[in-house]
Amino acid sequence: MSLSNTRISYQNLKMNFNEVNPGLTDREAIEESNRCLYCYDAPCITACPTGIDIPTFIKKIASGNIKGSAKTIMKSNPIGASCARVCPTEELCEGACVLNRSTKPIMIGNLQRYATDWAIRNEQVLFEPGKKNGKTVAIVGGGPAGLSAARELGLLGYDVTIFEAAENAGGLNTYGIVSFRLPQNISFWEVKQVESLDVKIQTNTRVGEDISVDEILTNFDAVILAIGMSKVPSLGIDGEDLDGVFDAIDFVMETKTKPISDRFLGKRVVVIGAGNTAIDGATCSVRLGAENVKILYRRTVKEMTAYDFEYEFAKQDGVEFRWLTAPKKIIGDEQGLVKAIECIKMELGEPGKDGRRSPIPIEGSEFILEVDAVIKAIGQTRYTGLIEQFGLEHKGGVVKINPETLQTSNKKVFACGDVIFGKGQGEAMVVSAAQQGKDAAYAIHKVIFGAVSEIV
C-alpha cells in the first residue's frame, strides 16, 4: 500500500476535511478589490443568476464597509456565502469580467467569500423582517431554493413556515457539498439569517409522513415546493446490495454529519459517474485515506458534466479517470463484502436525444478491477411520490410549471429548485436555485397583492 499523496494526512483524517481554500487575507482583499474597475452596467452582474451588484460589493470592501458589502451580496443572493464557494465563477461572473480582455479577471468569488466570511465571523444579522401582511406561506424543503424563497417572503412580511425533513435546514449546502469546499457552519449562518426574519423552520418534518399534504394545502395561503431531488438511482447490475456499495450523496453526507472514520484507509475505491457528485465522492474517498480512487465513466472527458475546476481538483487529489468504462457486475466475497467490479469498455455512437453521444458496449472487452468499495454517482432520483400526493402534473418527477409564474398545475402551489430541473427545464446550479426561490416569492406576492417589484 502506497499512501503518498502529499495533500492528505493519513494520521489525522479529520484534517483533510478542513476547507481547502484559505480565503483572502485582509491585504489581498484590499488589493484585489481596488483592482476592480467598478464598471458601469457591469457584465458580471448580468452573468450572475441572482444579479448581485458585484462592483458595488467590491467597492465596499475597498472602502472598508464590509458589513455593507455582505449585505449587498446577501440581498441579491440569500445563500451568497455558500455560492461564494461553490459557484462555477469562471463560467459566470468572473468569466464575464471585462478584465479578461486586458489583464486577468477579478477574483469575484473569493471577494464575495471575504465579505460574507466577515459577516459570519462577526455574527452579523443583515436583515429585518418586513411589516406583517397577514398572509401565510408553507415552503416544503429548506434547501437553497426554499431558504431563498423564505428570505424574500420574510422581507415582504409573510408568515413563513419551512418544512424540512432533515435535522437541519440548508439542503445540499448543509449535507451535499463536501466540507473541504463548503463547511456546514456557512450554510447554518445562512439558515440563521432566514430565521431572523421570523421564518419558522420545522426540521425533522417530512411532508407526506409527519404532516399531511392536505393540512399544508389547507392551512396556508400559498405553498412552495422546493424539495429538490432524492437518492442516487440503482445501477441495475448484480451486486449492488453488497456491503461496500454506497450512494454518493449518503456517502458525502456521512462525512459532514458523523465523525470521520478510518474504514477507507488504504482501500481501493471506484466511483461510477462523472458529475460533480462523483467528483465529491472520489475526493472524499481520497481524504478518507483510500489508497487508490478511480472514477469510471461510460463516456469521455468531453461529455463529463463535472465543472472544469472540479475535474482539476480531483486530478490534483490523485483521482484516476477511466473513460469509456461501464460497470457490469459488482463481485463480493463470501462475507458479502465488495471485492471486485467487472467493467466493460464502451465506444461512442451517434448523438442521443440530449445531444450527447451515447455509449455502446464493446463486446468481449470485459475486465475486472479489484476494489473494496463502489460509490454510485449517476444522478439523482425524484420525490415522485410526494409530487403525486400534491396532485401536481410532472414529467418523470420534474414538476411542470408555468415558466412565467413558477406556478404548478395547482395554482396555489409554486415550485423552484431542483424539483423543476431536468427534461430540458431549468438549471442545476445552486445559484440558479437561489434565484428561482426569489422568483417564486415574487410570483406569490404578485398573485396575492398584485405587486411585482423586488424588495428594496
Partner: protein
C-alpha cells in the same frame, strides 16, 4: 551614456539627484550610504540651534490600497549637536569629494546668528548653503522656517545677511504655504540668492483615526499640523517651479522638490525649469537604492532622445507655459473610442453622462456587440473619458480642424475693445 552632470549656480554634481534636507540626510552614516548608492548630492538635515523632537512624527496617506500617496511629518530640524554634524560633514566630504554636500540652515532672523552659522559650516567644506525658509511646523511657531519664508521682506533681509559672509553659493528654500510663490522667490533674488529651491512641505494633517478620534499622527492624544510631501504634492510643486521659471523677474537657477519618485518626475521638473531635483519621500519609502533606476532611466531617456547632456533639457517646456488668456480658443480636440481595444467597462460613458457633457453613447454594433461611441459634435474635448479609461489606447483625444484661425481670450478681448472703440467713435 549621456552627460548627467549638472551645474546649479556654480554647484557641480555628478547627477541631478540630490537627497533633500530631511530624515534621510540626518547623519554622516546615512549620507555616505546614499553616495555609495549613487545619489549625486545631499542637502544635510537642517542645522541650527539644538531642538527637541517628539515621538510619533510621521503620518501617510494611502490611496486605493497603495501606501504613501502622500506623507506628513512633524519632525523638526536636526536634533544632534552642531559640532557632531559639522564633524560628519567634513568626514563625508573627504570620503566623497566629487559628491555635493549642501548645508541646510535655519536660525533666528538675526544678522549675527546667520553670520555665525554660515562661517562655521563653510569651514568644514560644504559646496553650498540652503536657507530653510520653508519648514511649516514647530520651528515656524518660533519665528523661523515658513514664518520667515512667508514674509518677503524677511526672506530678502536674511538672504542678504547670509550673502554678506557666504563664500559658497546660497540657495533659498521656499515655502509653498503662500498665495504666490513668485513674491518670495523675487524677494530671495533681491536678497542676492544664487538659486532657489522649492517646495518645502505643505501645511497638513494626515488624517483622523476613526476609532480613537485621535489625529494621525498624535503625540499622547494630541496632534499638530505637519508638513505634507510625497507623490500627491507633485502637481502643486511643479506649478510653483514653472511659475518661478517663467517669471522675467526671477533669473536664478531652481532646485526642484516635491513628490519626485522616478526619473520621469525628474525629467518633468527639469523641462519645467529645474536644474536639478531633490528627493525625500521616495527614498524614505523604498531606501536609497531607488536612485540606480533614476539614473539609468534618465540616461536611457536622454540617449533615446539623442540629447547629449541633461542640462540641455532644463527649461525646455517653460516657453510653453503661459496664462489661460493666451490659450487658443479655437483649438479643438475630441475623444475617439477604439472599440477594438475597448473592454466595455463603460467608465467613460458614465463619467461623461453623470459629470461631463453627455456625449458618449452605449450602442450595439451590427453583430449585436456592445460598443461605445462619442458624438463628436457634442464633445467638448475635456479629456475626462480618456482619464478614467483603464486601457491604454482605447480612447484617443484627436485634434480636429475648427476651421478658424487661432484666437486667444486676450486677443479676443483686444479685438472686441477695438470694435467698441470704433462704435464709440461713430457715436
Amino acid at each position: 551614456m549621456a552627460d548627467l552632470r549638472i551645474n546649479l549656480a556654480g554647484i557641480e554634481s555628478p547627477n541631478p539627484f540630490w537627497l533633500a534636507s530631511a530624515p534621510p540626510t540626518n547623519s554622516g552614516y546615512q549620507v555616505q550610504r546614499a553616495f555609495d548608492a549613487g545619489w549625486g548630492g545631499a542637502v544635510w538635515k537642517t542645522l541650527g540651534d539644538p531642538i527637541l523632537n517628539v515621538t510619533s512624527r510621521f503620518g501617510a496617506v494611502s490611496f486605493n490600497g497603495q501606501r504613501v500617496a502622500g506623507f506628513n511629518n512633524i519632525e523638526l530640524i536636526s536634533d544632534r549637536p552642531l559640532e557632531v554634524n559639522l564633524k560628519e560633514i567634513k568626514e563625508t566630504k573627504k570620503l566623497f569629494p566629487n559628491h555635493t554636500i549642501i548645508a541646510s540652515l535655519m536660525v533666528e532672523p538675526k544678522q549675527e546668528k546667520w553670520h555665525e552659522i554660515v562661517k562655521r559650516v563653510e569651514e568644514v567644506g560644504v559646496d553650498g548653503l540652503e536657507l530653510n525658509f520653508g519648514c511649516p511646523h514647530g520651528m515656524a511657531e518660533r519665528g523661523m522656517g515658513s514664518a520667515s519664508g512667508q514674509v518677503p521682506s524677511l526672506v530678502e533681509q536674511q538672504t542678504y545677511w547670509v550673502k554678506e559672509v557666504a563664500q559658497t553659493p546660497v540657495i533659498v528654500k521656499l515655502t509653498p504655504n503662500i498665495t504666490d510663490i513668485t513674491a518670495t522667490a523675487e524677494a530671495a533674488t533681491r536678497g542676492g540668492a544664487d538659486a532657489i529651491s522649492m517646495i518645502n512641505t505643505i501645511n497638513s494633517l494626515a488624517g483622523v483615526d476613526l476609532d480613537t478620534w485621535n489625529t494621525i499622527p498624535h503625540v499622547g492624544g494630541k496632534g499638530a499640523h505637519g508638513g505634507y510631501c510625497g507623490p500627491a504634492v507633485k502637481p502643486i510643486a511643479l506649478n510653483m517651479v514653472a511659475e518661478c521659471a517663467r517669471s522675467p523677474h526671477i533669473n536664478i537657477p531652481i532646485s526642484g522638490i516635491g513628490g519626485i519618485s522616478t526619473w520621469q518626475d525628474a525629467v518633468e521638473y527639469m523641462l519645467m525649469g529645474a536644474s536639478g531635483v531633490q528627493v525625500c519621500t521616495a527614498a524614505m519609502h523604498h531606501g536609497f537604492r531607488i536612485v540606480e533606476d533614476m539614473i539609468e532611466g534618465l540616461d536611457n531617456y536622454l540617449e533615446q532622445k539623442g540629447i547629449a547632456s541633461v542640462m540641455d533639457i532644463v527649461g525646455k517646456t517653460v516657453p510653453r507655459y503661459s496664462d489661460w488668456g493666451d490659450l487658443d480658443l479655437n483649438y479643438k480636440i475630441v475623444a475617439r473610442i477604439n472599440n477594438d481595444v475597448c473592454i466595455n467597462c463603460n467608465k467613460c460613458h458614465i463619467a461623461c453622462e453623470d459629470t461631463s457633457h453627455q456625449c458618449i453613447d452605449m450602442l450595439k454594433d451590427g453583430n449585436g456587440y456592445n460598443i461605445l461611441k462619442v458624438r463628436e459634435e457634442d464633445c467638448v474635448g475635456c479629456n475626462l473619458c480618456s482619464i478614467v479609461c483603464p486601457v491604454d489606447g482605447a480612447i484617443d483625444m484627436v485634434e480636429v480642424p475648427s476651421g478658424l484661425p487661432p484666437m486667444t481670450w486676450n486677443e479676443r478681448q483686444a479685438a472686441l475693445g477695438a470694435v467698441s472703440c470704433k462704435i464709440d467713435s461713430v457715436k
